[in-house]
Amino acid sequence: MPAALASTSSWTARWRQRAFRHAPADLDPVVLRHSRIYILPTRRGLAFLATLAIMLVTSLNYALSLGFVVTFLLAGLVGSALLHTFRNLAGIELRPLAAGEAFAGSVLPFTVAIAGGATARRAVSLAARGARVTMDVPAGAALPALLDVPTSRRGRIALGRVTLSSDYPLGLWRGWAYVHFPLTGVVYPAPELNAPPLPPGSAGDDAQTSARGDDADLAGLRTYQDGDPLQRVAWKAVARGAGWYTKQFDGAGGGGPAVLAWRSLPGAMSAEGKLARLVAWVLAAERAARPFTLSAPGIALPAGQGRDHRRAALTALALVSAPD
């Protein structure tokens, strides 16, 4: 009966998703309820329960009424610790906030907002992909929890399943819950170290406002627009309260946007090496506040500059599917 089989497997799949949250199906915000929270004794809890068992057998054998009293009082302690562990997690609200950016080899910060509602939450740990953060959440507060996921390769990286856990108050029970947000970040290729200087611009046929910051003269100020590089903000004007302006320079340098092209790189270089070089150049151009164009397999970015342009370029480089 293939049909029955299929329905069984879908049932198990649903059950597995419900139990283990393998798929990133959680839409924000997630409030932890009893159906999501698991609790099992920790190692310390098991050791303590074993001690209680020994105490119980001793009390039974020697008919020690007070032995029973002590054993059962400690059992009551273990029991109420269980409930407190549960309560410490129940009702916690999680929502995905942001995925940061990172170069391969460094850490990619994901931010998840955690709110405890009206009760303070103690010693709550969030863990995902090797990142781990433990925090107290005061009553009524919503805090960002920063998960620094270590990276090794460029590409898109999903936060994956977040395990939220706590062994508060006695460390005898560990309660945990899985939350799986569809939160992904982009890991840029690591920039090449000591990369050669930027290639020259494409002969300043276009009178675009551009300049290399260091050996250029200040030409004037224009109103700040979103995306203007921070290095070129007229901070003194901002500090005076005169408003936001962006400094404009009269360029001596290579003139025109730098052309960063995959094709111009030596063919002997590996694909990843070329990407690293291009990333280093993007960063250099950005540092120099110089517009650039970028072309690579599957990428053709027109000339531009600023935060968004830089991000677009780096993201495109991160997601280049292995050429050659």
């Binding site: 054998n61 029973f68 400690l74 273990v78 407190h84 009553a139 390769r153 590409g155």
Partner: protein, 707 residues
């Protein structure tokens, strides 16, 4: 996008911590506090050197911690592991030497006591901490082997609270332990324990007890005070030095007069010239049929690790287990009656036992007339060689008094007339012919001297006689209306077959009649060492002691005495005794679930209460909105309150308080820190009061807008 896919499928493993993090000094200090609390109640039950050794190690660790604190940055002081192992082995050997054996309860307790100190010295990681908490938890139970009084229970409380506190401190992450205030873990642990009490109570009542031990109890109890089935001269006087309680009696009928309080114990028939022993095998007997009104009472017997039960002379029925609930069903018999009218339990009394007993106050009973009776009588005539002067005295007296009763009277008269002294400190007697030595030379003796001399004289004259040991006397406690019988009431008297009946004779009464009427405190010379309580008649110390004993009696009956039988009877009372095991488990689970539900509901209710600030604020915002001043989405409580105060200057103070209190509650320090609780409660009260002050929305709207 293949590369992206492979990156996405990368799985990260949680990094393994290679070296376990060391415990913070604060955590070690908490563990030390737990150890001290667990060791203290045991101090008087372990050999003094064990107590000193164990306590010294804890002190040493504290000293090292202190030294580390004085020299920050230096390598923490450590005792090498091999030295600790050496300590442990040495302690084990010394304990073996001191107790004479190692596998047993008491040496194990002593070894655990020392071991836990050694473990504390080398405790470094959280795992060591766990082990230490578990060992200390077990150590809390061990003093109850020796003493289960109210005080012993109270002494265990600090250790219990500290178990919870130490677990909390161990569970704290990272560097936090240094900032914990000592009150916080204590308070939280006490709270958790208190919340667990219902669960503990359910388990205490429903967890099935055993009728007997799982494994044989070690022979640690030999030589504990109490009557034994052998008596040499000096055994009972030694016992009389003890103040400890043998049993307590609640009378349901009239309390017998002091002279009738003979509590029958082991009957000693065999005599080897020096020592009296019970007949090795005593056949089952029958109750004497005596028409008299029986005395009814309940005995709470302290465990004495011997099989016999005590009853007033003569027992009239088999003892039955007493229960607080008057259940009709008779429990299975717990003891049998021997020919010599002794009650012998089926198993040694290893836990406090309460039994109901009937007695007829009679000092004589018929011997029966079967073969066994004849053998018994023959046994009671047997006298080994020796003690020639006593034998000669008997023959001489016998010539003068051929009648048995007259002979006995003459012997008693002799004890009374001759200068015999009743004393707890008799002179040492030659092991050869001790009865001669006592009767003719020292003439100073305690009850066992008189009883054995009496029986030897009678046997020498051919009259069957034997020694009966037990207790004589008992003191009524006015605080509880019950009688206390102490070890110092231990007594030996005699029984002789005179006139076709076994009759009770107490030669001690002939020497010191006040012993029988008023206890040994009255009867002994003032310079004799008597247990304090036997002599402090009428003083306030005695009164205090009796009041305290009444508390202990109740404690024994209801808490310590809650054993297999008590539990069964309680179950019978609740009509759950016929439940199958699964029904019992279901019942217990239902109770536990009820507890879980109640506790969770309470915790949620408390959370609701926390939410009260938010509810008040929302209601206020709604009211002000209806009054024409809605809160702007970007406005915080302070800004909104300021705007409202500008609109309604009449209530500026109230708005000021509201904004401030709500800001404290919403954005102030967390409630979790227990020391902040009070602050937050005060803020909540201020907020509620200030909101109360404000008029309704309609009234607010009509107030004029200030210029």
């Amino acid at each position: 996008m293949a590369a992206a896919a492979t990156v996405d499928s990368l799985r990260w493993r949680r990094p393994r911590v290679a070296t376990r993090p060391a415990l913070a000094p604060t955590q070690v200090r908490w563990l030390g506090a737990l150890l001290i609390a667990a060791q203290l109640p045991l101090l008087s039950f372990v050999p003094i050197w064990v107590a000193g050794f164990g306590a010294m190690q804890v002190a040493l660790r504290f000293f090292l911690l202190h030294r580390d604190r004085l020299r920050p940055g230096a390598v923490p002081a450590r005792i090498p592991t091999w030295a600790l192992a050496l300590f442990a082995v040495a302690a084990g050997l010394a304990i073996r030497q001191s107790f004479g054996y190692f596998i047993g309860r008491d040496p194990s307790v002593a070894f655990l006591f020392v071991l836990i100190g050694i473990k504390f010295l080398e405790t470094r990681t959280a795992r060591d901490g766990t082990l230490l908490v578990c060992l200390a938890g077990f150590l809390v139970v061990t003093p109850f082997f020796y003493n289960q009084s109210v005080l012993a229970a109270a002494a265990a409380v600090p250790a219990l609270v500290l178990v919870g506190a130490a677990l909390q401190v161990l569970a704290l992450p990272g560097d936090e332990p240094d900032f914990v205030r000592w009150r916080v873990p204590i308070a939280r642990s006490a709270k958790l324990l208190a919340q667990g009490i219902p669960l503990a109570a359910i388990l205490f009542l429903l967890f099935p007890r055993l009728a007997g031990p799982l494994w044989g109890l070690p022979s640690d109890h030999m030589g504990k005070s109490g009557l034994s089935d052998r008596m040499a001269l000096g055994t009972i006087s030694e016992l009389s030095l003890s103040d400890s309680v043998a049993f307590r009696v609640d009378f349901t009928s009239l309390v017998p007069a002091p002279a009738q309080r003979y509590w029958r114990g082991p009957v000693l028939t065999r005599f080897d010239g020096r020592e009296w022993t019970a007949a090795p095998r005593t056949p089952a007997g029958e109750f004497a049929r005596i028409a008299a009104r029986p005395v009814a009472y309940t005995v709470t017997l302290e465990p004495h690790y011997k099989p016999w039960l005590f009853a007033l002379d003569l027992p009239a029925a088999l003892p039955r287990v007493a229960t607080d609930a008057g259940d009709e069903e008779r429990a299975a018999p717990i003891a049998g009656l021997t020919r010599d009218q002794q009650l012998v339990a089926l198993a040694p009394v290893t836990q406090p036992l309460r039994y109901e007993q009937l007695s007829i106050l009679s000092s004589a009973y018929p011997p029966g007339n079967d073969e066994e009776a004849a053998a018994e009588i023959a046994d009671s005539r047997r006298l080994p060689r020796g003690n020639p002067r006593t034998q000669a005295l008997a023959s001489e007296l016998r010539l003068r008094y051929p009648d048995d009763a007259a002979f006995v009277r003459a012997v008693l008269q002799r004890f009374h007339d001759e200068p015999y002294v009743y004393t707890l400190s008799p002179d040492a007697l030659y092991p050869r012919d001790p009865v001669d030595g006592f009767l003719f030379e020292s003439r100073r003796g305690f009850c066992e001297h008189y009883a054995s001399a009496f029986v030897v004289l009678l046997r020498a004259a051919g009259i069957p006689a034997r020694i009966v040991t037990g207790y004589q006397g008992g003191e009524m406690n006015p605080n509880g209306g019950y009688m206390i019988v102490r070890q110092s009431d231990a007594h030996a008297w005699a029984e002789a077959l005179v006139g076709g009946q076994w009759r009770r004779y107490d030669p001690t009464a002939a020497v010191a009649p006040s012993r029988i009427e008023g206890g040994i405190g009255r009867a002994l010379p003032a310079d004799d060492h008597v247990p304090l309580l036997a002599r402090l008649d009428g003083s306030w110390i005695k009164g205090l002691q009796l009041a305290w004993d009444a508390v202990n009696h109740d404690w024994r009956r209801h808490v310590i005495g809650f054993n297999y039988e008590q539990q069964r009877s309680l179950w019978r009372n609740w009509e759950i005794d016929r439940f199958a095991p699964w029904q019992m488990v279901a019942l217990a689970s239902a109770f536990v679930l009820a507890w879980v539900g109640a506790l969770l509901a309470w915790l949620v209710w408390r959370r609701r209460r926390e939410d009260r600030a938010l509810a008040l604020w929302k209601a206020l915002c709604g009211r002000l909105a209806r009054a024409g001043l809605p809160r702007q989405p970007h406005e915080g409580p302070l800004a909104y309150a300021a705007r409202a105060a500008a609109r309604w200057p009449e209530f500026a103070v109230a708005f000021d308080v509201i904004g401030d209190a709500y800001a404290v509650l919403r954005y102030g320090p967390a409630a979790g820190r227990d020391d902040r609780q009070r602050e937050r409660a005060a803020a909540l009260a201020r907020l509620a009061r200030a909101v109360d002050v404000l008029p309704a929305a309609g009234a607010l709207r009509t107030l004029p807008v200030p210029a």
